[in-house]
Symmetry: C2
Subunit: 193 residues, 2 copies
DNA sequence: GAATTTTAAGCACGACCGTGCTACTTTTAT
DNA sequence: ATAAAAGTAGCACGGTCGTGCTTAAAATTC
């Protein structure tokens, strides 16, 4: 019982790493088995279907995101410092080899029905909510104006992150990070004055 | 000779529409043939390979983008008005059924080598350059400060567009458009004051 | 209208897909 | 140590993939 869970996690680690390159749909059980040094049926037995495997990848990826982005940010003091911390770690997150699986999943399933789509939307909403919640601490601490729309802040911060991702890893534009921080600082200023 | 080109274009129209949902990798010749009411080999004969078909889709999509986004913007007077116009049409572009093929391609090929990746990067760069070039007209017209970094503006505008796309079509957040325009206006203000 | 080129379908190929079943080996519990 | 359970591989299935070749129909040119 314990051994099984162990290899299951090992498989998932490989699967997530592969899916960052090929996407969740591009992931195949055959190539995954080869990469994990197992037989196809050996891998398959751990997930009752391909869709279950894909969903498990999404969950595993979300756990990693929490570990690498959310938790480090929550360790910082509430307010702007925490907001800056999450942006910082988020930018590092984007530089994972193969790219961000959240973004890949969003592009893959954005207009297709199904369980994968639904889970993806929930995860995206959770990520946005994390940003909004942290922005709210800046309001509570008196750093942001009382009437700040924290969802607006979340949307704009997310935009900064997304365009950073594009400029950095697709266009390989050297000024991507500087540009992102400049935009971020102006955003903060406009809400603190 | 003429009839062939005609059906080729018809096939491409269907292909692009399908690829908006499934992505360029998810597009298969079998399903494309079915959707175009042709045999697999009939479709295949118009493109010597799957990769060629995918590249042709990218080109066709780019043409449409120029027609629906770039050209309408260029019809507006140089400067902020033109910048606002391109954002407006760009936002409409994103609401195509299935989503934006540029974004899908970027997510699919961002870290994979090959001709599709290379073409995708060029197209993304062209889009960014269009934004920067229009921002430059705002500088030339004296609306933006002399020392404005037009690539910085392009990056930020692109971020606004990307996050709008996410909020609107994935999260279905009703305030997405308002949020995007609020961010846009603040961006303009900070460069004009 | 005849000759020729272009377009499309039929068909077959090897490969790989997701999925199950069966049998054997390894791990766990007694 | 033995019995039970869990994990893994082998193998086979129907299906679809991209790709080519061959042949009939259609469109174009003379």
């Amino acid at each position: 019982m314990r051994k099984g869970e162990l290899t299951r996690q090992a498989i998932l680690d490989v699967a997530v790493r592969m899916a960052r390159y090929s996407g969740l749909s591009g992931l195949t059980i055959g190539s995954l088995a080869a990469a994990a040094d197992m037989s196809k049926s050996g891998v398959y037995a751990h997930f009752k279907s391909k869709e279950a495997l894909q969903l498990a990848c999404m969950e595993r990826n979300a756990e990693q995101f929490i570990d690498e982005v959310i938790r480090p940010a929550l360790a910082k003091p509430r307010g702007v410092a925490r907001l800056q911390a999450i942006v910082e770690h988020w930018m590092s997150w984007y530089s994972h080899p193969g790219g961000c699986l959240f973004l890949a999943a969003a592009a893959e399933f954005d207009d297709l029905p199904g369980a994968l789509h639904d889970r993806m939307v929930v995860q995206q909403r959770d990520m946005l909510d994390s940003l909004a919640r942290i922005a709210a601490t800046a309001v509570a601490e008196g750093e942001f104006h009382e009437d700040t729309d924290v969802f607006q802040v979340a949307q704009e911060v997310f935009g900064i992150l997304l365009s950073y991702n594009w400029m950095e890893r697709i266009l390989r534009y050297p000024g991507a990070a500087d540009g992102a921080w400049a935009a971020f600082n102006r955003l903060i200023d406009s809400h603190t004055d």
